[in-house]
Each structure stands twice: as structure tokens, then as C-alpha cells.
């Protein structure tokens, strides 16, 4: 009877997902198809476009700025994802057990996520200003700096990492807090009664139970990190000297400042493929390593 109950659910399954599939199909898949067509055109969105086949892609391969922007995007992603997800897990664990002011702490961690990018940009532009900023002021007191941060081509990308980790940490913390609700208290007590130390409890109980959330956050953060744009737009604008020109910034510049929309669409398609590879790999890895309850 269980077999029958849990057997093939073709009809039911499709009925459940149909509304979502239709809506996302119309508003998500169709536009992407159009973008794909656009990548085969020379199109400035103003005059009539011309079809150029794979020319845009051929130009991409030889474009040094494009290749550099891939590298920068990957560097950014490789730093951002572990820092934000790992940091969030740490903070969530700190907030898990009752503590005074916990509501205050939870809300303050959430504030940067809710704050508009414009306001965040202004704050960081000020904090990290080489001459007048608070960061160099404080660092100067302990004998460090002054640093160029957003104005130094060698530091700018890392400054963006710091800014975006700050802005997104709270989001990951919320997800982890929700997931931690599913960690039964008695399981932890049992482990500790068995003599397991804090680290062992974490490694063998908490970490596996949090792995579904971790998988989600890693995939989600990766997708977002590969598309980082807003924070760069309100601070460094892709500079200085292209130091923060990541893929989407390059795309935006090509499409809306230089009117090469077809070329920009080709860039977007390459980004899409990179993201797809990452996501599929992570999901595959996740399917083998993630522990859902039996």
C-alpha cells in the first residue's frame, strides 16, 4: 500500500508545479529566449538590427576586457560565498540559544539587507574614503594604512567583497536560523551526554542537519555573486582602471552606455553557462553529501 501511495505521481506532480511553470515560463524563460536571439544580432535597441550569427561570440573570445572580467567575477565569487555563508553560520549559531537582546541582534543583522543599495553605497564611500574615511582613521590609530580601498586598483575588488558580505550576511543568517529550528534540542543533549565536545557535536550533529540549508545558500549565493552589480554601480563604477569590472558590469556598460546590446546579450549567455555549470555541479555534489532526515 505504501508503494501504491508513493508510486508515480505524474499527474499530481505536474498539477502542483503547473502554475509556477506557466508563470516562470512566461516571465522567465521567454525573455531568456529573446536574449539568446539578441546575442546573434548587432543591435543598439534604436535602429533596425542586423543578424551577425556567431560574430559577437567570436569577438568575445578575443576581448581582453571580457576575459579579465570573467577572472574578476570568479575571484569575487570564490571570496564572497564562503565568507558570507560561513560567517552567517557562525552568527546564527551564536544567536541560537537564548541570550539577552537576541531580538535586537537579529534585527540589526537584518538591517543591512533591508537598506537600499543607494544608502549603503553612500555609507561605504564615506567609510572607505582614503582621506576622510572612518576606516583609515581607525586603522591609523593602530599604525596601519592609509589604504586606498575603492581608489586603489589592487584593493577595490576586496573592498567590494567586504561591502557585499556586510550587506548580505543577515539574509543568510535568517535562513540558517529557520533551519536551526529543525535541529531538535534533545538530539544535541544526547550527544553531549555521550561525552561529545562542542566541536564534535557541531561536526557530527549540527553541520549535517544544516547541510540542506547550506546547499541552498551556497547555490543561491553563487548565482548572485556571479551577477554582482548594484553595489559596484553605486561605488566604483567598474573602476578604478577596470579593477571592479565584473561580468554584469561589463554587460551593462556594453548595452546601455555603448549601445552594443547584441554583444551584451552574448556576454549574458556566457555568464549563464558559467552559472549553470556551477549550480549543476553544486547540486550534484549536494545530492551526494547533503543529509536530509531519513
Amino acid at each position: 500500500m505504501i508503494q501504491k501511495a508513493l508510486g508515480s505521481d505524474h499527474l499530481a506532480g505536474w498539477l502542483f508545479v503547473l502554475p509556477a511553470v506557466i508563470l516562470i515560463g512566461v516571465f522567465g524563460i521567454l525573455p531568456i529566449g529573446w536574449a539568446l536571439l539578441l546575442s546573434f544580432q548587432q543591435n543598439d535597441l534604436l535602429a533596425t538590427p542586423t543578424w551577425v550569427g556567431l560574430d559577437n561570440y567570436r569577438t568575445l573570445v578575443h576581448d581582453p576586457v571580457f576575459r579579465d572580467s570573467i577572472r574578476r567575477t570568479l575571484v569575487y565569487t570564490v571570496l564572497f560565498v564562503p565568507l558570507s555563508v560561513g560567517g552567517a553560520m557562525g552568527v546564527a549559531l551564536l544567536l541560537r540559544r537564548p541570550i539577552r537582546f537576541s531580538r535586537f541582534y537579529r534585527t540589526s543583522v537584518f538591517v543591512p539587507v533591508a537598506t537600499s543599495t543607494v544608502a549603503t553605497g553612500i555609507i561605504f564611500n564615506w567609510l572607505l574614503d582614503p582621506t576622510y574615511g572612518l576606516a583609515n582613521f581607525v586603522l591609523g590609530k593602530i599604525g596601519l594604512g592609509p589604504y586606498g580601498f575603492f581608489q586603489d586598483p589592487d584593493q577595490a575588488l576586496y573592498a567590494i567583497v567586504a561591502m557585499t558580505v556586510w550587506g548580505w550576511l543577515g539574509f543568510d543568517v535568517i535562513i540558517y536560523l529557520a533551519a536551526l529550528q529543525g535541529v531538535p534540542e534533545d538530539l544535541l543533549e544526547a550527544a553531549q551526554l555521550d561525552g561529545a565536545g562542542r566541536w564534535a557535536t557541531f561536526r557530527h550533529v549540527v553541520w549535517p542537519l544544516l547541510s540542506p540549508a547550506t546547499l541552498f545558500l551556497v547555490v543561491w549565493s553563487t548565482i548572485n555573486a556571479l551577477q554582482v552589480f548594484d553595489e559596484i554601480y553605486v561605488t566604483t563604477r567598474g573602476g578604478p582602471l577596470h579593477a571592479t569590472t565584473v561580468l554584469v558590469y561589463y554587460l551593462y556598460n556594453q548595452a546601455f552606455e555603448l549601445f552594443h546590446a547584441g554583444y551584451a546579450a552574448a556576454v549574458a549567455e556566457v555568464l549563464f553557462l558559467i552559472t549553470l555549470v556551477f549550480a549543476v555541479f553544486q547540486l550534484w555534489l549536494g545530492n551526494r553529501r547533503v543529509h536530509y532526515t531519513s
Binding site: 533591508a114 572612518l134 529557520a178 548565482i223
Partner: protein, 272 residues
């Protein structure tokens, strides 16, 4: 066995909270300064006086009453839509086996992988074909369900003990019944999270409403705030007053929804 008179976790959490709150403090301070006072750099964190007038002035500068109403309608619809549709789809992907399940899941997820800067123009054209341009429908329809929510709930649902669902099915409960009577009540934290995040994103959405809405009657709060930023000049005091007012509903929703994060501690009857 404490060596400190207070919980050592405060040593980490307090500075962290301070760092996180800096922009909010700056926004509040700027919102009560006069415009000339805002024209200083480095910015002052301690204002000379309190100029509450900015708040009524900001509300007067544009029909913000209308904007807030529109934002609430759109955001409310998006939250409800997502809670319902993502639950249905997320559950199907989590528990059911059906033809093309994994490919469809990847395809839905793939729609997140193309940046909005590229898809916004064709999305506009589609919305136009549907006759929704310059209406709240244009803001609601594309946001009724997101792959993010489906993914989130799928992960969460899979962590629940399947025995409960199997038992209910054996008892003759339909799939829908299992979802609504067994699974969802156990998923309050995830649902609360999805609700908060959907609220946040729809409320803060700026670029899409800017493109698809032209008339004042259909504008949202974010578009209204953009009107404080001119080509060469920005009215910072009004802009920040507006931003604080726009931020308030989100923080309130978050504080209110926090009860679902601490819910299960109470329900598992852990000793206090």
C-alpha cells in the same frame, strides 16, 4: 562556570550589531538635518538640531499615501502568491516523482542565471502584450512566484520526517491534504523566511517599476523616492526621511515575524 559577568557571546554580537547599524544611524541623522546641514563631508553623525519637518515635507513632495498603498498591494499579492505557489511546487519537487521533474527544476532555477539588465526589455514587451503596462498588474504578475522560493521550500520540506506524511497517506489523505495539514504547519520558519524575503524584494524593487510604470497613480514608494534625486542635485534630507519611512514597514514585518524563528524552542518544551 563564567569568568565574565556577562555572556561572552555579547563580545562578538555587540560590535557586529554596531557595524550593521551604521547606515541606519546615518540615515536617521540625515533625515532630521536641514538640507544645508547635509552638505558636509565627512558627514556628521551628531546633528545640530532635530528638523522633524523633513518627514511631512517628504510626504508632501509626492503623493506618498498613494505610493505606500500601491507598494502594499503589490507586495502583499507577491507574498501570498509565493507562499501558495512555492509551497505547491516545492512540495512536488521535494516528495513526488514525476516525469521530467529534475530537468524542470533546473530549468526554473536557470531563469535566475540571466541578469535582469538583459531580460528587462523583453519582459517589458511581454507585459505590454498582456496589456498590463502602467498598471499594478505589471508589478504583480512577474513576482507571483520565484524559483528562489521553490528551491528554498524544496530544501526545507526534505528535512521533515517523511513518516508523518506516509502515515497520513495511508490513512487516505490526499496529496493536497498532506501538504496543507501536515507539512505546512511544520514549516512555519521556512514560510516566515520566504514571506519576509519576498516582502523585502518586492518592496525594494526599483528598476522594474521604473521601467514599466509611468503615471503617478500607479507608482510605488521606491519610484517616489527616486524623485528626490535630480540629475545634478539630490535632496538628501528628504530622500533619507523617505528612506526611513520606506524601511519602517520592512523592519516591522521582520520583528513581527521573528516569533516563528523561536517558535519550536517553546514547542519542544525545553526547560527554560
Amino acid at each position: 562556570m563564567r569568568t565574565l559577568p556577562f555572556n561572552p557571546r555579547h563580545l562578538v554580537l555587540l560590535p557586529l550589531a554596531a557595524v550593521m547599524l551604521v547606515p541606519l544611524v546615518w540615515m536617521l541623522v540625515t533625515s532630521i538635518e536641514t538640507l544645508p546641514e547635509t552638505r558636509h563631508f565627512p558627514p556628521t553623525l551628531i546633528p545640530a538640531g532635530i528638523h522633524w519637518q523633513n518627514y511631512p515635507d517628504a510626504l508632501d513632495a509626492a503623493p506618498f499615501g498613494r505610493f505606500f498603498a500601491n507598494s502594499f498591494i503589490v507586495t502583499g499579492a507577491a507574498v501570498i502568491g509565493n507562499l501558495v505557489l512555492c509551497s505547491l511546487a516545492g512540495y512536488a519537487f521535494a516528495r513526488m516523482r514525476f516525469f521530467g521533474r529534475d530537468i524542470t527544476f533546473i530549468a526554473l532555477l536557470a531563469t535566475l542565471m540571466v541578469p535582469f539588465q538583459v531580460t528587462m526589455i523583453p519582459t517589458f514587451l511581454i507585459v505590454q502584450h498582456l496589456g498590463l503596462v502602467d498598471s499594478l498588474g505589471a508589478l504583480i504578475a512577474p513576482n507571483l512566484v520565484t524559483p528562489f522560493g521553490i528551491f528554498l521550500l524544496r530544501q526545507f520540506f526534505r528535512t521533515l520526517p517523511i513518516e508523518l506524511e506516509e502515515a497520513a497517506r495511508i490513512d487516505g489523505c490526499s496529496r493536497l491534504g498532506v501538504l496543507f495539514r501536515i507539512v505546512l504547519p511544520l514549516s512555519m520558519p521556512a514560510l516566515a523566511t520566504l514571506g519576509i524575503v519576498t516582502f523585502l524584494w518586492t518592496w525594494n524593487d526599483f528598476l522594474w517599476p521604473l521601467i514599466v510604470i509611468s503615471s503617478t497613480n500607479q507608482s510605488t514608494v521606491q519610484i517616489g523616492l527616486a524623485s528626490f534625486q535630480g540629475a545634478h542635485q539630490t535632496n538628501w534630507s528628504l530622500l533619507m526621511a523617505g528612506n526611513v519611512m520606506a524601511l519602517a514597514p520592512m523592519l516591522l514585518v521582520f520583528i513581527f515575524a521573528q516569533r516563528w524563528f523561536v517558535q519550536s524552542l517553546a514547542s519542544t518544551g525545553v526547560k527554560g
